[in-house]
């Protein structure tokens, strides 16, 4: 059974600091997605990572994928309060189009 685990589950950080969220998955996949969810809202797509070594950056967020280690990271640079949300990674197994989501990381950026 595929498992997708995120670490940490909860992250409280100060504005201006850097941190990394980790996403581990238990079976082969070369399609990984990062989503953001604000309270009571839907999921907003952040990144699509489709190959080993893929790295994408948007503003203060940078995501990478290591398919050999079955690991993706979401790095936050110089956090700001607006980044407070829950972040999910999701894995598409063998291009089945069925996404398996991680447990989510609740990020709280304190002023």
């Amino acid at each position: 059974e595929l498992k997708v685990e995120q670490n940490p589950l909860f992250l409280s950080m100060q504005e201006g600091k850097n941190y990394t969220i980790y996403c581990n998955y238990s079976t082969t996949s070369d399609r990984l997605y990062w989503y953001r969810q604000d309270p009571g809202k839907s999921l907003e797509s952040l990144f699509v990572l489709l190959s080993n070594g893929a790295v994408k950056q948007e503003g203060r967020l940078m995501a990478s994928l290591d398919t050999k280690a079955r690991l993706s990271t979401l790095h936050i640079t110089a956090a700001v309060h607006d980044l407070s949300a829950t972040y999910f990674c999701a894995v598409d197994i063998d291009a089945t189009n069925k996404l398996i989501f991680g447990t989510g990381t609740l990020l709280a950026v304190q002023p």
Partner: protein, 115 residues
Amino acid sequence: GAGVSQSPRYKVAKRGQDVALRCDPISGHVSLFWYQQALGQGPEFLTYFQNEAQLDKSGLPSDRFFAERPEGSVSTLKIQRTQQEDSAVYLCASSLVGVSNQPQHFGDGTRLSIL
């Protein structure tokens, strides 16, 4: 442009009642997905359509759950004889088919509460 639209946004039903949740995908999106999100959890896959064909329903938790997309556009998720454990947010997503670098686009969800 218009995104994925779901209705109703909130639904309260008594245990044992039937409910129907509607999803209107992004125009031109061939693939449509339903997910169930429990409080504090990540979404869990329920079922997947490509046009009107239901290609995967492995995530439907019981035979009380039924989904259809008869004309390959709007989809309805029906839950019969609702139970308290059915309380969750039901998310619909759509995507282009055959375009691997496109994510699934999610609607705002229907929050279902079973009393």
